[in-house]
């Protein structure tokens, strides 16, 4: 029966090509606009580290007080004093202070020009915390952190460039004129959004090329390559700046259970209370502990453009569907006589429902195929509207293809409910009489 109704549907669609084309185009455009913007939204609201997102926490401590903070919310970055204080307390299972640095690698080959590497200064705990995969070697340990050791972990791309992809663990690399020993080469690691640093990257950026020990970077007076915010004049020179209340570092902790996280939050409040007693904070403890998803939400990494365009596209799809309801109504009611004959010959209402819903599904499928084509074009064109670093994340994969077709067919069938119901209400006697 399905095949027969499907054929009937196709035949009926051919009978009014213009009306059919209108419906198919409306659905195609509506679905394509929604799916294209959804592809971007899906990429920007992605969970970058699904297996650990509820165990990793970003720390916030209010070191500026109510006068310089907005709505009582502590700033998103921390001062050096606070991250060092928390590292010393060492209250979590794993923890790391971190900040972005922008050193340059000087290739051993004198013919090559130095190049900039996208880098972070971290503690050794960062590698197991962030599940960073290694091609060769590993991260460094507490001994290197404590010893301000000249060690680095480099990305696979850098290893390919400098060592032609060979195992470079134990070899040296010249960074800003100083030699560092390579302890590990990362395999491809590029979580998007960059959950560990939305503050300095807006969430989407190139993968990290290199990690160096936090303690080493501070010893070498490497300034932050990201934002530095001060509520007061930081004074004269590096040491004054380092020990000022300027905020520029991030702090991440790992807690394997809810109880551990609660315990850490209490220790954080304890730390802030201690600072209050010592007279550094003249306000009660104001701290936050947010897991990866909460942190990304709080940092608003989904660009407003993405949300607005998704909303507009969904509204657009809604209008297209309203339009389809109207056109299907016109199309079905025009065939009142035909319905009357079928009913008189013994077709039940249920069969009328089946026939017309399948016909609508055919329209939806055609619309979906057109929508797929347009979505493909749309995904290529997103770089027009969005930052290229965001746009390149939007892809037309198998799941999006399936979703496009599914949305098109489902939406059209749903739009067809009312017109079909009207069609099924046709009184056979009435139609036959007037003929």
């Amino acid at each position: 029966m399905f095949a027969y109704y499907f054929q009937l549907g196709l035949r009926s669609l051919r009978r009014n090509p213009i009306l059919t084309a209108l419906m198919v185009m409306a659905i195609g455009f509506g679905v394509a606009a929604s799916m294209t913007t959804y592809a971007v939204f899906r990429a920007t609201s992605n969970n970058p580290i699904p297996e650990k997102s509820s165990q990793l926490f970003a720390v916030q401590i209010d070191n500026w007080g109510p006068e310089d903070t907005k709505n009582g919310e502590p700033s998103s970055s921390l001062s050096y004093t606070d991250v060092i204080g928390l590292m010393a307390a060492h209250k979590a299972r794993r923890q790391t202070a971190m900040y972005p640095v922008g050193p340059s690698v000087i290739p051993a080959d004198a013919h090559l020009l130095p190049f900039n590497v996208n880098s972070y200064a971290v503690y050794g705990d960062a590698f197991p915390m962030f599940d960073i995969p290694f091609l060769y070697g590993s991260g460094w340990g507490a001994a290197e952190d404590d010893g301000h050791a000249a060690v680095v972990v480099i990305a696979r791309a850098i290893n390919d460039k400098l060592f032609n992809g060979a195992n470079s663990v134990g070899r040296e690399i010249n960074i800003d004129g100083r030699n560092y020993r390579i302890t590990g080469v990362m395999d491809s690691w590029n979580p998007q959004p960059l959950f560990f640093d939305p503050v300095n990257t807006s969430g989407f950026d190139d993968p990290v090329d290199l990690f160096i020990p936090f303690t080493r970077a501070i010893e070498l007076k490497m300034g932050t390559a990201g934002n530095n915010n001060c509520n007061k004049n930081s004074g004269d020179g590096w040491d004054a700046w380092l020990h000022s209340e300027c905020i520029w570092a991030q702090y991440w902790v790992e807690a394997s259970s809810k109880a551990d996280a609660d315990a850490y939050l209490r220790s954080l409040q304890g730390y802030a209370a201690e600072q209050q007693r010592a007279g550094r904070f003249r306000w009660p403890p104001n701290v936050r502990l947010r897991n990866v998803q909460e942190w990304l939400e709080f940092q608003k990494v989904v660009p407003p453009e993405s949300k607005i365009s998704l909303l507009v596209a969904l509204a657009f799809l809604l209008i297209c569907l309203v339009n389809t309801v109207g056109l299907l109504l016109a199309k079905f009611m025009r065939r009142a006589a035909e319905i009357g004959v079928r009913r008189a010959l013994g077709a039940s209402r249920r069969e009328i429902y089946g026939q017309f819903l399948i016909e609508a599904g055919t329209v939806g499928l055609a619309g979906g195929l057109l929508g797929l084509l347009l979505t493909g074009l749309g995904v290529v064109g997103v770089s027009w509207v969005f930052d290229p670093k965001v746009a390149r994340l939007a892809t037309l994969d198998a799941s999006l293809v399936a979703l496009t077709l599914l949305v098109a067919v489902l939406a059209t069938v749903m739009a067809a409910f009312y017109p079909t119901w009207r069609a099924a209400q046709v009184q056979p006697a009435w139609q036959l009489k007037s003929n």
Binding site: S104, L113, P114, W238, I308, V322, G326, L329, V385
Partner: protein, 410 residues
């Protein structure tokens, strides 16, 4: 024209009437807000930087292997000499940032050290006496910096500058009704004041929107060359020679000193490229909203044509009866036009409310501005005209129904 019979007829087509009205309402809501977004983006894109943007280019330079922050002072001096002597170059400048670059320094300005909250927010451009000539910014009062005023300072040690120039926008904000020229302002807490020696007509801040929207032209220029790892060069070529300087300048810099990185992505750009990069997403958003508006209006028009055609087909007999009873072709045409106008009016009424509601929601969620009623009025007129336009063809077909139709059985 009698409204009563039309309303009576519409009551028998509740579903179709409701669908057309709903479609008009939703379309109006979307189109109004989309047009408003377009207007806001276009307004942002068309803001002037205050500079003469032709024959201007920017280089982003990062020093490699500096022994300390101050080690770049002689390197910057040498670079500037190389650039200013390069054939085809009119003038060159080392600065921390420039309009539309995206990153820079910002600070609060106080009129006296006791002020709790700053009187205005400003960006700080650390430049030398070549700034105005290179940027093409216009001095409207006071004087430019003198070469002997310019000092080189480690960015971490910078405290204050005895003299500064400010833009007119900042001057107006700090001293409404008078001028900042010759007055003292405080650019940081706990430091001595700076005396304003010159007023610049306009110079935009490095940020194009968002948090900088309320101080987009509040700029301060300081006669200070910041040392450190990062230096930005602005270069003005002689008229028409930008293309050759874009190639020659980085080559000359690498020839002078190869221990530097000019990032591949944004290292060397003409100012036209800077502008394009800065406003890329604004332009894209405006185009996207434009496309959506056009397609949406098209689809709504098509929907009206489709449903009205169906109605005309359904009512052929009634139209024939009316014609046989003496109604002119014009009467039939007016009937359908009026019917559409009534539905359209209902739709735009709801649509106008929806448009404003949607705007309120967008304002709350995305910090958008309030929708001007002008957009709603324009949208209402456009949609009513669209409705009349799309009903015209089916209505004319209806008017052509011959009176003899009344005598046929169907």
């Amino acid at each position: 024209m009698q409204i009563q019979p039309i309303l009576a007829a519409l009551k028998r087509h509740k579903a179709g009437t409701f669908l057309i009205a709903l479609q008009i309402a939703l379309t109006l809501a979307i189109v109004c807000n989309a047009l408003f977004i377009i207007q806001q983006r276009v307004e942002r894109i068309s803001r002037s930087t205050g500079m003469i943007e032709t024959d201007l280019m920017a280089i982003q330079n990062m020093w490699v292997g500096l022994s300390d922050e101050n080690a770049s002072e002689p390197l910057i001096k040498a670079d500037l000499q190389v650039l200013r002597q390069l054939p085809g170059v009119q003038d060159a400048l080392a600065t921390n940032s420039y309009p539309l670059r995206g990153g820079g320094w910002s600070t609060g300005v106080r009129l006296n050290p006791e002020m709790k909250k700053p009187a205005a927010q400003t960006t700080q451009y650390f430049v030398d006496d070549h700034a105005l000539a290179t940027m093409g910014a216009k001095l409207i009062a006071g004087r430019n910096f003198r070469p002997d005023e310019v000092v080189a300072i480690d960015p971490k040690k910078f405290q204050f500058s005895p003299t500064v120039m400010v833009t007119k926008a900042l001057s107006d904000k700090l001293f409404p009704g008078s001028s900042a020229l010759g007055k003292q302002i405080y650019l940081s807490d706990g430091t001595p004041p700076s005396t304003v020696v010159g007023i610049v007509e306009r110079l935009q801040v490095p940020w194009k929107g968002g948090f900088a929207d309320n101080f987009e032209a509040n700029s301060t220029l300081l006669p200070v060359q910041l040392t450190g790892n990062f230096t930005t060069y602005l270069i003005r070529s002689k008229p028409g020679q930008l293309a050759s300087v874009l190639k020659a300048a980085p080559e000359a810099l690498f020839k002078a000193n190869r221990m530097r990185v000019l990032p591949s992505e944004r290292g060397v750009r003409s100012f036209a490229m800077v502008r394009q990069d800065a406003y890329k997403s604004d332009r894209g958003m405006a185009i996207l909203m434009g496309i959506i508006c056009v397609v949406l209006l098209g689809i709504t028009a098509a929907g009206i044509v489709g449903l009205t055609s169906f109605w005309v087909g359904q009512r052929r007999k009634q139209i024939g009866v009316r014609r046989a009873l003496g109604a002119t072709k014009n009467d039939i045409l007016t009937y359908f036009l009026t019917e559409n106008l009534l539905i359209g009016l209902g739709g735009v009424l709801v649509g106008a409310l929806l448009a404003m509601g949607m705007n309120l929601w967008l304002m709350k969620q995305f910090e958008m501005a309030r929708l001007s009623p002008l957009y709603v009025i324009t949208g209402v007129i456009v949609l009513l005209l669209l409705g009349q336009g799309s009903v015209l063809a089916p209505a004319m077909r209806a008017a052509r129904v011959p009176p003899v139709e009344a005598t046929r059985s169907v």
